[in-house]
Amino acid sequence: MLKKSSFILTFVVSLAILAGSALAAPPIKIGGLFAVTGPASFLGEPERNTAQMVVNEINAAGGVKGRKLELIAYDTQGDATKAVQAANRLIKEDKVVAIIGPSTTGDTMAVIPVVEKAKIPMISCAAGSKITEPVKKWIFKTAQNDGLAVARIYGDLKRKNISKVAILTVSDGFGSSGREQLKAQARAYGIQIVSDDTYGPKDTDMTAQLTKIKGSGAQAVICWGTNPGPAVVSRNAKQLGLKLPLYMSHGVSSKKFIGLAGDAAEGILLPSGRVIVADLLSNSDRQKKSLLAFVKDYQKHYKAEGDHFGGHAWDAIMLLKGAIERGGDNPAAIRDQLERTRGFAGIGGVFSYSPSDHAGLTKDAFVLVEIRKQDFALVK
């Protein structure tokens, strides 16, 4: 214990001298709650990696107002009980000034009472709209509402005069939130859901559902899930000769999906954050700089493609950094400054929080992309 802290101290001191600061102030502690293992690890792992990467970079560049950031990240395993225990530990034992995460809507909803009571600002990386609706004083989020992605898809369907769709959603938090939004917004776009099916996160064959869809008279299929389910769906659709337009969710907006689905991915449409098409954006796009930096860094550190899930953590840390720079490092000040964030161009979109909006994004956070020749292409 002593050894470790003295090591950190020396490390901090030497860095502080390098940076030209005179004092070695204690680091600002930020808590992280990520589902690094368990069924939601596809969210938690890139988030944790990104958060650590960004914190390291900020520290290497001199920290925030001359002080280092320290990220204390715990694994929730996607389990509400463990998330609450970890949140308690962050607040009571580690005495963090702010929390980023959790990764899933379920974990987030579970820790909200704890965090609200302790009056610690938290920036969730989960997408569920009920996290910030109604607005809760201490809770913000960076992940785009699923509703925004649904709006993108429905907008495109309307443009193509398609009114009958079949939806196929995964029976986990991600899928059920998508399903809820798909059903809720259908009427507004004049869309009729003619078949509403689900599949299990570990299912290996979806031909039964797709056969049913084939007989349902749908003009398009929307599949809502994260890897590997949608890849199985694409392959099964090809097997059955299902010639309908196939839409996916932003849950598969990474090259991994194309790798898994192979040929079957061709022609699939999906809403996505800008991160996968960063290099295709025009130079006037406000997010382009952040996006390119994130993609490059992630590639360098983790030898993997940075996806928009990692981007949620990137945004959260950057938002926190901005708030601390403007208002200091006590929880109340951070919260107030977070709420005053305007026009921050991050990975997930351009964030503008307000007392009545703790989600901060508009429909523009998503673009529609099509998979062509094993790559993503922007749909104008």
């Binding site: 069924p39 099916d197 039964a208 007989g215 199985v232």
Partner: protein, 294 residues
């Protein structure tokens, strides 16, 4: 697409998933019959088969056939090591302890796989292309034919092995009464080890032939293992046709359940049927009744 066509497709889809469950279920049955243990780590061998193949194919760039053979060998080694290190020392343990040991083993194997290979899902190229094959009103993929073929071959081999070879008969003797088997000179410990080797090889084979269709990741074993277990129970823990029927019944029920009733509850439907079967015929659908001995 009329309902007849749909049902044809449901049945065919169910048949192909069922064949997978059957193959995994046979692995359960073999270990159970030789040792009385329900090996909850069986699903992990399915995972290991797929993941080792991915590893040999993509990291070491070996040809498919070599990768498959090496993957089966590697999974079998893990199975044998598991038996030697965790099962054999527990000679006089209660069945409940053995359940916990195998659950612990499955967590351990899964954890190591996660650390070594990461959490990503991986795909393998299909063995013989992706062109769907039209079978009457329904379609399947060439890979499904591989699954049917491998399942059939495995069942025939196991039938031949248990009925016509010395060591197969010895293993059946162990299953019937291991003490008596020991007394007539059968090396029971070796038979137990052997049963683990066979069933881990079988599990990995299942994992390999399904990987091109279902993809593979460190955690595919859990659900597949459970379904295989169900298939074996329905089939009365037989290492032959009973479990195959069990698997196919389960697969078809799931597929019909998803297509006709509710896709969300399809697993629940399968498990409700399982419970009903257990309540009515606890010894499985395809086993003869047995009077309890005192």
């Amino acid at each position: 697409m009329h309902i007849g066509q749909q049902i044809a497709q449901y049945l065919l889809s169910g048949l192909s998933t069922g064949a997978i469950y059957a193959l995994i279920g046979v692995g359960f049955a073999i270990i159970h019959n030789a040792t009385g243990i329900i090996n909850f780590a069986q699903g992990e061998f399915v995972m290991l088969g797929g993941m080792f193949t991915v590893f040999f194919l993509t990291v070491l760039n070996l040809p498919l056939l070599v990768s498959v053979i090496l993957a089966i060998a590697a999974a079998t080694i893990v199975g044998v090591a598991f038996e030697r290190l965790a099962i054999r020392p527990m000679k006089n343990a209660s069945p409940i302890s053995l359940v916990i040991i195998t659950i612990g083993g499955s967590i351990l194997i899964r954890g190591i796989a996660m650390l070594v290979w990461g959490k990503d899902t991986h795909a393998i190229e299909t063995f013989s292309g992706n062109e769907p094959i039209q079978l009457g009103e329904a379609t399947i993929l060439p890979q499904h034919l591989w699954i049917f073929a491998v399942t059939t071959v495995v069942i025939i081999c196991s039938k031949l092995y248990f009925n016509y070879t010395i060591s197969g008969k010895a293993m059946r003797a162990c299953a019937y009464n291991s003490r008596a088997a020991g007394l007539v000179g059968i090396d029971v410990r070796r038979m137990v080890l052997f049963s683990f080797a066979i069933s881990s090889a079988m599990g990995s084979m299942a994992g390999i032939i399904i990987a091109p269709l279902t993809m593979t990741s460190y955690d595919v074993g859990v659900m597949l293992g459970l379904k295989g277990f169900c298939a074996a129970i329905i089939g009365g823990m037989s290492s032959g046709l009973g479990t195959v029927f069990g698997g196919v019944i389960l697969g078809i029920l799931e597929s019909l359940g998803a297509g006709i009733f509710s896709s969300g509850y399809k697993d629940a439907i399968a498990f409700i049927i399982l419970l009903i079967i257990l309540f009515i015929r606890p010894q499985g659908l395809f086993a003869k009744g047995d009077t309890e001995r005192v």
